[in-house]
């Protein structure tokens, strides 16, 4: 299977099964597109009058050579299908330090901080038990991860401070490396917090949506007042401080800002170099949910964004846009691509009370509760997630992007189709476009 597309005059061919990427001239582009459905003789007959017989034969020789090397029209890497491992390792936890928030974001999947339950903070006892659970269930894995999440995790600062020290201690004891990430709206990111982040090497995800009007409309304080000014001030101060290491500026776009490339541009021009701006996940009953009719505009926005980012790269001011990152030589191995996001398996979310869920988006759904950090896992839901991979999803079989999106987000599939095996269609359309943009940028910026 191949995917052939043109972006601003550059012809790109992705060989889906090998993941090889080729840049081709126009004659080769046309011939490759028809290669699988025609004989060499037919292609010569059709294209010799256009490009000349020698050129067509040259191209056919090049195609055959690449085919023999497994770089074009390669076969399925797992022709016998895929059997997921059953080892039951958990290597990453999303700790909900606070089911409470100092903002009332309108699109919040966490029910504006409380995940549909009582507002509450994770106790030290639960947090430490979660770390112990991670050390135990990660088995032989050396790298483990903890994301401090919420609501707003900085509402529970003492527990955060303790858990970082405790996690490091337990990891050292177990011969593991622990990586911490903090996802925050930045309002409580004061000097003390900044220093703590720097001294403890926390990666940080900072939430801001882009232009002031866009941000304020969706991310108000409980009073209704917009939070842009204070959030931007905090984030700028932190990102430009000596304490900021690995970070992403994380925004959400909705139907209210379909021109989201302007928001990415706004964030980039504010001096941020690592940006992730993503489509909202919302039910069709909300005014801000993305609709099918928005797709053409959104695809065009991704193209605009690509041109902007390429321009920045050429000016020597590159910006790393999370979903356009692609590493063709050292990217994930095939087994990683098949396990996807690992929700419900290697990755779990922990509520303030210590309950375990497949990921942060499932929290509060009792039918997906997978146990507790004190009692351990009841494994029932895990088998559904283990089997929710691209070889079991009908929509993925013939999709050229399957080894990059790995079948998409489980929570979206369930929310929109009620079925883990049926991907969220709008998400698929956007993911495919992002991959085209990413490949084009890669081709243009590779030395």
């Amino acid at each position: 299977m191949i995917h052939a597309f043109t972006f601003d005059g550059t012809n790109i061919v992705l060989d889906v099964n090998s993941n090889a990427v080729h840049v081709v001239d126009e004659p080769a582009f046309n011939i490759i597109k028809e290669y699988a459905g025609a004989t060499g003789g037919e292609l010569v007959e059709k294209y010799a009058p256009v490009y000349g017989p020698d050129v067509v034969r040259e191209i056919l020789r090049e195609v055959d050579e690449l085919k023999n090397k497994g770089l074009l029209f390669s076969g399925d890497p797992l022709p016998g299908g895929y059997r997921p491992p059953e080892e039951g390792v958990v290597k990453a936890l999303c700790l909900h330090l606070a089911h409470d928030c100092n903002l009332r974001c309108r699109y919040c999947f966490a029910g504006q901080g409380d995940f549909g339950g009582d507002r509450g903070l994770m106790s030290l006892e639960v947090g430490r038990a979660a770390i112990d659970f991670l050390m135990q269930t990660s088995g032989g894995r050396r790298h483990v991860e903890v994301d401090f999440f919420g609501g707003e995790p900085l509402l529970n600062r003492p527990v955060l401070f303790d858990l970082v020290q405790y996690g490091r201690f337990r990891a050292r004891e177990a011969g593991k490396e622990i990586k911490f990430t903090l996802t925050t709206n930045a309002l409580l990111l004061d000097r003390e917090m900044q220093r703590f982040i720097g001294e403890n090497d926390l990666a940080v995800v900072l939430s801001i949506d882009g232009r002031p009007g866009v941000h304020d409309r969706m991310r108000p304080f409980p009073s209704g007042e917009g939070s842009y000014r204070r959030v931007m001030e905090r984030i700028k101060q932190f990102v430009h401080s000596p304490y900021c290491g690995e970070y992403y500026i994380r925004g959400t776009f909705t139907r209210y800002n379909l021109d989201f490339s302007e928001d990415v541009r706004h964030l980039a021009e504010a001096g941020f170099e690592h940006i992730s701006v993503e489509p909202v996940v919302a039910g069709a009953d909300t005014g801000y949910a993305l609709r099918d009719e928005d797709v053409p505009v959104l695809l065009e926005e991704y193209e605009k964004l690509t041109r902007y980012l390429l321009g920045r790269h050429r000016q020597g001011r590159p910006v790393d846009f999370f979903h356009f990152n692609i590493d063709l030589e050292d990217g994930p191995c095939l087994p990683k691509r098949l396990t996807g996001c690992s929700a419900g398996l290697e990755y779990l979310a922990v509520t303030p009370g210590g309950d375990l869920y497949p990921c942060h988006q499932f929290v509060g759904r009792q039918d997906f509760r997978m146990g507790n950090v004190f009692e351990g896992l009841n494994s029932n839901p895990a088998c559904f997630f283990r089997e929710a991979h691209i070889y079991n999803k009908n929509a993925c079989g013939q999709c050229w992007a399957k080894f990059h999106c790995s079948g998409g987000c489980h929570a979206n599939a369930l929310a929109f189709n009620g079925n883990l095996l049926e991907p969220y269609r709008l998400g698929c359309l956007l993911a495919r476009k992002r991959l085209e943009c990413a490949l084009y940028l890669k081709v243009c910026t590779q030395k």
Partner: protein
Amino acid sequence: MSKHIKTINSRTLQSTVRNGGCGECRTSCQSACKTSCTVGNQACASGKKNN
């Protein structure tokens, strides 16, 4: 030397099957997105590069 087709990368997915799957890489949803799984943009954490 190809005149019409320029290949950008030589590493194939097939070549990663044998030594891949160590599971030491980062969890894809954890690092930045939290709403939209993308695995292809992650980096391999193995020094062996799996091929």
